[in-house]
C-alpha cells in the first residue's frame, strides 16, 4: 500500500472507518465557516492607524519618516542615506520606476536585488498597524529578494494601504487576487538573531535596517 493510503487508512481506523463521509462533510463545513471569519479576540484598533503603525514599527527597530506624497520619497531617502552614511546606489521594484530617483542624486536600478546590492527599495501590498508589519507579495514587478538580500531595506508606504490587522490583509488578497501568489511575506523590522548567548543582533541574514517612508497623503 502507498504511504499515503497507509497513513490515511491508519487515521481512518482510529477515527472510525465508517464515518469518513461524515468527517469529510464536517471538514468542508468547518473550512467554509473559518474562511473570512476572524478567529478569537484581537487587539482593538487604535483611532489613528498611522500613529499606531508607526509606534509598533519603531518598537521593532524599524525607523520611520512621514512625508506627504510619492514625489517626496526620493529626496527623503537621499537624506536618510546621507545621515546614515550609506551608499546612494541601490535597486528598486520596477513598480517604483515612475519616481525621479536621479533627480535626488540616487543611482537606482529597477529589477530584482542581487546578492551584492546594498540598498533595496520596495513599496508594499498593504501595511498592518496592529504589529507594524509590511505585507509584501512577490510578483514580477515586486520582487521578494529586494526586501531580503540588501543590507538596507527602504519601503514606501502610502497611508491608504494601512490596515488594522492581518485579517484585513487576507480579505484584500482574496478580493483582489483570489488565491495567494507563490510568496506572501510579512516583514516586521530588520532581520535579527539571538542565537549566540541570547544576545540580540540585528542583520542576521536579511537587512540590518528597515526604514519606512510613510506617504500620508497617498
Amino acid at each position: 500500500m502507498s504511504a499515503r493510503n497507509d497513513i490515511l487508512n491508519r487515521l481512518g481506523q482510529r477515527l472510525g472507518a465508517d464515518q469518513l463521509a461524515a468527517r469529510r462533510a464536517r471538514a468542508e463545513a468547518a473550512l467554509a465557516a473559518h474562511i473570512g471569519q476572524p478567529q478569537g479576540p484581537r487587539p482593538t484598533p487604535g483611532a489613528d492607524l498611522l500613529a499606531e503603525f508607526r509606534r509598533r514599527a519603531e518598537s521593532l527597530a524599524s525607523t520611520v519618516e512621514v512625508v506627504s506624497t510619492w514625489a517626496d520619497a526620493p529626496a527623503a531617502l537621499a537624506r536618510y542615506l546621507a545621515e546614515k552614511d550609506l551608499p546612494r546606489q541601490g535597486v528598486a521594484w520596477p513598480s517604483l520606476g515612475h519616481l525621479d530617483w536621479a533627480g535626488a542624486g540616487l543611482e537606482i536600478r529597477l529589477g530584482a536585488a542581487r546578492g551584492d546590492d546594498r540598498l533595496g527599495i520596495t513599496s508594499c501590498y498593504c501595511a498592518i498597524a496592529e504589529t507594524g508589519t509590511l505585507m509584501l507579495l512577490g510578483e514580477s514587478d515586486t520582487h521578494a529578494v529586494t526586501s531580503l538580500l540588501p543590507e538596507t531595506h527602504v519601503a514606501l508606504v502610502p497611508a491608504s494601504l494601512l490596515l488594522w490587522g492581518m485579517e484585513e490583509g487576507w480579505a484584500k488578497l482574496r478580493a483582489e487576487r483570489g488565491t495567494p501568489p507563490r510568496g506572501v511575506n510579512f516583514v516586521s523590522g530588520p532581520s535579527r538573531t539571538g542565537d549566540i548567548e541570547q544576545t540580540l543582533v540585528l542583520g542576521a541574514h536579511g537587512p540590518y535596517r528597515v526604514h519606512l517612508i510613510l506617504l500620508q497623503d497617498c
Binding site: 499515503r4 497513513i7 490515511l8 491508519r10 487515521l11 481512518g12 482510529r14 477515527l15 469518513l20 468527517r23 469529510r24 464536517r26 471538514a27 468547518a30 473550512l31 473559518h34 474562511i35 471569519q37 476572524p38 478567529q39 478569537g40 479576540p41 484581537r42 487587539p43 482593538t44 509598533r56 521593532l60 530584482a112 546578492g115 504589529t131 512577490g138 510578483e139 520582487h143 521578494a144 529578494v145 531580503l148 485579517e167 487576507w170 488565491t179 495567494p180 501568489p181 507563490r182 510568496g183 510579512f186 516586521s188 523590522g189 530588520p190 532581520s191 535579527r192 538573531t193 539571538g194 542565537d195 549566540i196 548567548e197 541570547q198 543582533v201 542583520g203 542576521a204 541574514h205 536579511g206
Partner: protein
C-alpha cells in the same frame, strides 16, 4: 535521530554539575519567562480583559477542529496544494522522508541543499541521509549552523545552541572558516554573527535546493507558513530552484484567519515577541512569468508516530505548535537543559512525545522527569494538559510493568493501608513518632531508610510527632 533517553539520569546528573551550562540556563530562563509575561500582559491591556486566556482556548479549538477529522482535512490540503502546482508526497517515518528527499535531490541534479531549522528533519536524520547520498546539506539558522559545525544536536527547539557560549562559537568558526582563534576578552557577538552571515550568503546564492520545515499547513490555500527571525527561511524558500517543505501531518489548520489567530499566540509564547520578523506564506512553485522563486515545490508530509496519537488519550499533544514555552517555564528543563532528554524534543512536550513516538521502554525516566507543578499547562498557547498526559504515561508504565518492583510494592503497600483508615492512622501515627525521634534536636533526617537516593542531596525535615489527623481532631475539640 537516535534515542538516548535511556541514559537520562546520568546525562541529567552531568548537566547539573556543569556550572557553565547552569549559568546559560539561568540567563535563558529570565529572558524567555520575562519576555512572555510582558507581551501577554500588554496584549490583555490593549484588548478586552482576559483576552489572552480566551485566545488560548480558541487556539486549542482550531487545532482540535482539524485533529478530530484529520484524514478528511489532509485530503483537502492535498487537493488544494496540488491544484496550486505543488507535489504532495507522504512518508510513514523518518527513513521514508529521507528517501523521498534524496530522490527529489537526485531528480533535479542537486549538489547543495540549504536548510532552515526543522525539528522534524532532526527526527528523520535528514542531514545524514543527504550527506550519505553525496548531497551537501547546510543548516542556515545561526544556532543550527553552529551545531552542524560542532556535530551536536539542538538542545532547545527555538534556541538550538543555547548551551554554547561565544568562546565555543569563536573556536568553531576559527576552525571551519580558517582563521585564528580570537583572544579571550575580544570576542564580539555581532562580529561572529556577521562572519556567519558572510559564510552562509555564499551558500544561499549557490544552493540548488531549499528544505524548510513548516509552522503551519493551511488547508484553504494548500500553503505552508514559515515563521523566522533571521530571514534564512525566506532565503531557503526563495533562492533555490527547488523547495521542499517537510512537515508533520498534524500541523494542518483550516484558514488564513486561523493562521492569524495562532500567530498572535506563537511568537508571544515563544520569544516574547508580538510578531516574528518574517512570516511567509508559500504556495506552489513560481508563476511562469516570475523571475524568482522555486520552479518546483514539494511537500513531504511525515507521520512518524503521529497517527497513533489520533483518537487516543494523547491526541491533545498533537495540538502542539512548537513554541517552547513549556520548556522555558519548566523547573526541570531549567535545571538540566535539553540534551539530557536524549532526543529531538526536550522539556515537558519532549517528555510526552519521546516515549509516545519511540516507545515507553526507550524513555522510562522522561514521564517521571516532572514535578507536575503545572507551569507548562498554564503557559501552553493551545492548552495542552501536559501534566495530565505525563501522569497518563506513568500509569501506562505501571500497567506495562516498566517500573521497578520496589516502586510497585511500595505503592501497593500504601494502597493497602490507605483503604483501611484505622490501620492507616495507626501506621502513620507510629511513623510520625519514629521519624521525630530520628530527627533529633535539629528536626532533620540526613539519611532516610529506603529512600537513601532522595536524601543524598538534601535533609528530610522530620515531622513533629503527631499526624495531621491527630492535630485536626485535637483542634476540633477546642471549638
Amino acid at each position: 535521530m537516535e534515542v538516548k533517553s535511556l541514559q537520562f539520569k546520568a546525562r541529567a546528573a552531568e548537566r547539573l554539575a556543569d556550572p557553565a551550562l547552569q549559568s546559560k540556563l539561568k540567563g535563558a530562563k529570565q529572558l524567555f519567562v520575562g519576555g512572555r509575561a510582558r507581551v501577554v500582559a500588554e496584549f490583555d491591556q490593549v484588548g478586552q480583559a482576559g483576552d489572552f486566556e480566551t485566545l488560548r482556548g480558541v487556539g486549542a479549538d482550531i487545532r482540535d477542529t482539524v485533529l478530530d477529522d484529520l484524514d478528511a482535512w489532509l485530503e483537502i490540503f492535498e487537493a488544494r496544494a496540488t491544484a496550486g502546482g505543488a507535489t504532495v508526497l507522504w512518508a510513514r517515518d523518518g527513513r521514508e522522508a529521507q528517501k523521498l528527499i534524496v530522490d527529489i535531490a537526485k531528480r533535479h541534479g542537486v549538489k547543495k541543499v540549504i536548510k532552515s531549522k526543522s525539528m522534524l528533519s532532526e527526527e528523520a536524520g535528514l542531514n545524514e541521509g543527504l550527506e550519505a547520498a553525496g548531497v551537501q546539506s547546510v543548516e542556515t539558522d545561526l544556532g543550527e549552523y553552529i551545531l552542524q559545525l560542532a556535530k551536536e544536536p539542538p538542545s532547545h527547539i527555538l534556541a538550538p545552541a543555547i548551551h554554547k557560549n561565544k568562546e565555543e562559537v569563536d573556536e568553531l568558526f576559527a576552525r571551519y572558516h580558517g582563521r585564528p582563534v580570537t583572544p579571550a576578552g575580544q570576542i564580539d557577538i555581532p562580529a561572529l554573527t556577521r562572519e556567519a552571515r558572510v559564510a552562509l550568503r555564499e551558500h544561499f546564492l549557490s544552493a540548488d535546493m531549499g528544505i524548510s520545515g513548516g509552522n503551519f499547513l493551511i488547508a484553504e490555500t494548500g500553503s505552508v507558513a514559515l515563521v523566522t527571525n533571521e530571514g534564512n527561511g525566506r532565503m531557503v524558500t526563495t533562492l533555490p530552484k527547488v523547495h521542499v517543505a517537510v512537515v508533520g501531518i498534524e500541523k494542518l489548520i483550516p484558514s488564513l484567519e486561523d493562521l492569524s489567530a495562532l500567530l498572535r499566540l506563537l511568537p508571544r509564547s515563544a520569544t516574547g515577541q508580538t510578531i516574528s520578523n518574517y512570516v511567509s506564506l508559500l504556495t506552489g512553485p513560481r508563476a511562469e512569468a516570475a523571475e524568482e522563486g522555486p520552479e518546483h515545490m514539494y511537500f513531504v508530509l511525515m507521520d512518524n508516530g503521529r497517527s497513533s496519537l489520533v483518537g487516543s488519550d494523547f491526541q491533545e499533544m498533537l495540538r502542539c505548535i512548537r513554541c517552547g514555552a513549556c520548556m522555558n517555564h519548566c523547573p526541570v528543563y531549567q535545571s538540566i537543559g535539553g540534551h539530557a532528554y536524549g532526543w529531538v524534543y526536550p522539556g515537558p512536550m519532549g517528555s510526552v512525545l519521546t516515549p509516545l513516538y519511540n516507545g515507553l521502554e526507550k524513555a522510562p525516566d522522561l514521564p517521571q522527569a516532572a514535578t507536575l507543578c503545572g507551569q507548562c499547562s498554564v503557559v501552553c498557547p493551545v492548552k495542552i494538559p501536559l501534566p495530565e498526559l505525563l501522569r497518563k504515561l506513568r500509569e501506562k508504565q505501571m500497567e506495562g510493568g516498566l517500573r521497578s518492583w520496589q516502586e510497585k510494592w511500595s505503592l501497593k503497600a500504601w494502597g493497602f493501608f490507605a483503604a483501611r483508615p484505622r490501620l492507616y492512622a495507626l501506621a502513620t501515627g507510629i511513623g510520625a513518632r519514629v521519624l521525630k525521634v530520628m530527627g533529633g534536636d535539629e528536626g532533620r533526617i540526613e539519611k532516610l531508610p529506603g529512600l537513601a537516593e532522595w536524601s543524598r542531596g538534601r535533609d528530610f525535615p522530620a515531622p513533629q510527632g503527631k499526624t495531621f489527623r491527630e492535630l485536626y481532631a485535637a483542634r476540633k475539640d477546642l471549638h
